[in-house]
């Protein structure tokens, strides 16, 4: 029997690290060299364009066009930032959408903290959304009335996404419960609704909201375009969220249903007190992923001409002075969307790790 040799000592050091992680064998080394070459070829020019040679502030597009070294013209964004943030909202009243934006952030922050996950959170949301509505519309408390057509910019994107999710979520719970109901009629109505909405592109629903929905209403009754688009987004989001909630409902072990029934609880109590709290908790990570999708999807309202962040940028680009700075405009839009979506996705991953350690996850694993 030969003695077991001790493990060779691992020397921590940059050279060993490079050898282990980049140059472990020949194909790997070739790949690394190729990747480094491509990085060297593309990253420095981009950094030069985007930062070093960029023009951050300029009174007009002239200095951008006459610059000797081609650099990004971020002056376009600086110059138009009010328009990008608030659209055509009356200039003197810009503090109102500004405060509304901050309120949105506050709502997101509160909802992200687990110790606020109580039924009272729903009330906080109701109050917050109502306050945002009052701020944006005005007409009371001495605020001047601002019609929907003048809302725009980033705040409109936040409104569409947040109100969309806030209203779609309760609807989706009803749909998910309905899809799992024993009553054949309820079940078929929910299945048809969910599959119908999920089977068609969002654009077709938005077109429907913009051109067909006015025909549905009796003569004289009009609903403005923003609200119609918002309804379409809510109906769309509800179908997707319903499938996520249904996944959560299916993951609840049968013993929980049986125990609730054995206690003699009614359907409403069983659902509200036993099943939903557990089902929603385990569906939070996929729910957040769906929220990310919906946040991105609000950009589609551009196609029916609603003035969200993206259309505000596009409109600013149409000004003769700023034609040709599309790359800067869309990179900026990408950055804004990325910040929101990346924050949500990191949050959802953190939550997933947390919940994997929690009591619910352990209970589920045991069954």
């Amino acid at each position: 029997m030969s003695a077991v040799l001790p493990r060779p000592p691992v020397l921590p050091g940059p050279v060993e690290w490079l050898r282990a992680n980049l140059f472990s064998n020949i194909p790997n080394a070739l790949l690394s060299v190729l990747a480094l070459y491509l990085l060297w070829k593309f990253v420095p020019p981009f950094v030069n364009w985007a930062f070093i040679d960029a023009i951050w502030q300029a009174p007009s597009s002239k200095s951008c066009r006459e610059a000797l070294v081609p650099g990004a013209c971020w002056a376009f964004i600086t110059e138009k930032h009010r328009f990008i943030l608030f659209g055509t909202y009356p200039f003197e009243e810009h503090w109102r959408p500004g405060v509304a934006t901050l309120l949105f952030f506050a709502l997101y922050a509160v909802s992200a903290m687990r110790r606020f996950w109580t039924p009272r959170l729903a009330l906080v949301w109701l109050a917050g959304l109502a306050l945002i509505g009052v701020l944006m519309w005005g007409g009371v408390f001495g605020l001047s009335y601002v019609e929907n057509e003048r809302w725009g910019g980033l705040v409109l994107t936040l409104i569409l996404a947040t109100f969309g999710i806030a209203f779609a979520f309760p609807l989706s719970i009803l749909l998910a419960l309905g899809r799992r109901s024993d009553m054949p009629v309820v079940r078929s109505v929910c299945v048809v609704y969910i599959e119908l909405i999920r089977g068609v592109p969002l654009i077709s629903l938005l077109f429907m909201a913009s051109v067909v929905m006015p025909l549905f209403l009796p003569n004289g009754v009009t609903v403005d375009k923003l609200l119609r688009a918002q309804i379409a987004l809510i109906l769309f989001a509800a179908a997707y969220l319903a499938e996520v909630v249904r996944g959560g409902l299916q993951a609840i072990p049968r013993g929980q249903y049986e125990a609730a029934e054995a206690l003699g609880l009614s359907f409403a109590k069983r659902t509200a007190l036993i099943i939903l709290p557990q089902a929603l908790k385990i569906s939070i990570p996929p729910l957040v992923n769906t929220f990310i999708g919906l946040f991105k999807d609000t950009s589609l309202v551009v196609i029916i001409g609603l003035f969200d962040l993206l259309l505000a940028l596009k409109t600013a680009l149409n000004e003769p002075a700023w034609i040709g700075f599309g790359a800067e405009a869309y990179l900026f839009a990408s950055l804004v969307y990325f910040i929101f979506c990346y924050a949500m996705s990191q949050y959802s991953q953190m939550l997933e790790r947390d919940l994997a350690r929690g009591p619910t996850a352990r209970a589920l694993k045991d069954t």
Partner: protein, 411 residues
């Protein structure tokens, strides 16, 4: 998935039978769950019917007042608009709306089919790259995935379209990353094989080769099962499949002249070209969907237990066979269902073409409904087409899932 429903239903008979055993229930009571269910469902039917009737009656009255025609008679009328690209079909402004919509559908399929193939390739490469032991490659793939899937597709489409149509140089100073390939603000121009009817023989040869390869693999598998003797059926089959067309190409002297694009005046002649719209849409769809596919592939490979690799190696299977016979079939079971929904998403997302002016089905239906004013019919056509695609793909998925499901396992 039906577990939950079953056990909820199970205790229901207990209650009625307890009272039924003494005397049959004669009075209808709201406490009886069956009666309650009937009442609820009747109420739901009434509500749905009422809402439906309300919308339909309003719509009919509105259409009547605004003198908007109804029905699909407009499909046979002359469309009167030109379509930028027609996927190889003949079309003119004098053709009917029906034909225009057909062209739109063909354009949708042209972008979706190419997009699905390219996104699968790019996504698989990225997914495997993210699992690579090479730190740099894994990092780069991770950055790609995180960036691409957190930016809305529409923003990406606008970006690529701007880059192609505004920031690329004109045909005169077109970029040529590879000889014969030109990138300019007129789109992407590349060399193609000059068409000749005799080239159909190549396709025939390829098909024959495929059939031979298929039979060969089946024979080799059976022989191995019976005798244990092995035969390199895959490599030989692959060789036949590729070799046969090449043999036909050179031996039979089938014309294979390559058309290179050349600059003439202000544009290219010869070769084939992708319009800026098609190129931007294809690029955007592929780059965006690949990020999602990469995550699916990664999850699929990670889902296969390490022990499976090790067991396969312990059995003496070489790496490639362990992959093909042990790991891949198990990974595919995890990969295929979400992959199909990504393909569906790509197809549905191709409707964003309308934003950058690529004439897909939605874009043409939109033009049609603007011209005829028949919005309801236009949107019904869009929805019907996409629903048909979605439902047939989910039907196929269900069939596939039943086929690959673990035998005897509850799914």
């Amino acid at each position: 998935m039906d577990e939950g429903r079953h056990h909820v239903r199970a205790p229901a008979p207990l209650r009625p039978s307890a009272s039924n055993s003494q005397k049959p229930r004669t009075r209808w009571s709201f406490n009886d769950p069956h009666v309650r269910a009937l009442v609820y469902q009747a109420a739901l039917i009434a509500a749905v019917a009422f809402v439906g009737w309300y919308f339909v009656s309003n719509t009919l009255r509105n259409l009547d007042e605004r003198k908007i025609a109804t029905g699909f008679a407009f499909l046979a009328r002359e469309a009167g608009f030109e379509i930028g690209e027609t996927s190889g079909f003949a079309y003119g402004a004098a053709d009917t709306y029906l034909r225009a919509l057909g062209i739109g559908l063909a354009n949708t399929f042209r972008i979706a089919a190419v997009g699905v193939v390219l996104a699968t390739i790019l996504g698989t490469v990225l997914g495997l790259a993210r699992l690579s032991r090479n730190w740099l490659i894994a990092r780069l793939a991770a950055v790609y995935v995180e960036v691409m899937r957190n930016i809305p597709l529409l923003v990406q489409l606008f970006f690529w379209y701007t880059i192609i149509s505004e920031n690329l140089p004109g045909p005169k100073d077109a970029l040529t990353p590879l000889p014969g390939l030109f990138l300019s603000n007129r789109g992407i121009t590349f060399p193609v094989l000059h068409y000749d009817p005799a080239q159909w023989w190549l396709l025939a040869a390829l098909l024959v080769g495929a059939v031979i390869a298929f039979l060969l693999v089946r024979w080799a598998t059976r022989r191995q099962a019976a005798t244990g003797e092995q035969f390199p059926a895959y490599s030989v089959g692959f060789g036949i499949m590729l070799g046969l067309p090449l043999l036909v190409l050179f031996a039979a002297g089938i014309p294979h002249e390559i058309h290179r694009p050349e600059l003439s005046g202000f544009n290219f002649v010869g070769g084939a070209a992708l319009t800026p719209e098609y190129a931007a849409l294809l690029f955007g769809l592929v780059v965006y969907t690949a990020a999602f596919i990469a995550e699916i592939v990664r999850a699929g490979v990670l889902a296969v237990d390490r022990g499976q690799f090790e067991a396969a190696h312990a059995l003496g299977l070489p790496r490639s066979r362990a992959m093909r016979l042990v790991v891949l079939p198990q990974a595919l079971r995890v990969i295929v269902p979400p992959m199909t929904s990504q393909y569906l998403n790509l197809t549905k997302n191709s409707s964003l073409a309308v934003a950058i002016g690529y004439p897909d089905l939605v874009s043409i239906a939109n033009t049609t409904l603007n011209q005829t004013g028949q919005a309801i019919e236009g949107i019904m056509i869009i929805m019907a087409v996409y629903l048909t695609i979605s439902l047939s793909i989910s039907a196929f998925m269900n069939w596939y899932n039943r086929r690959v499901a673990l035998k005897g396992a509850r799914t």
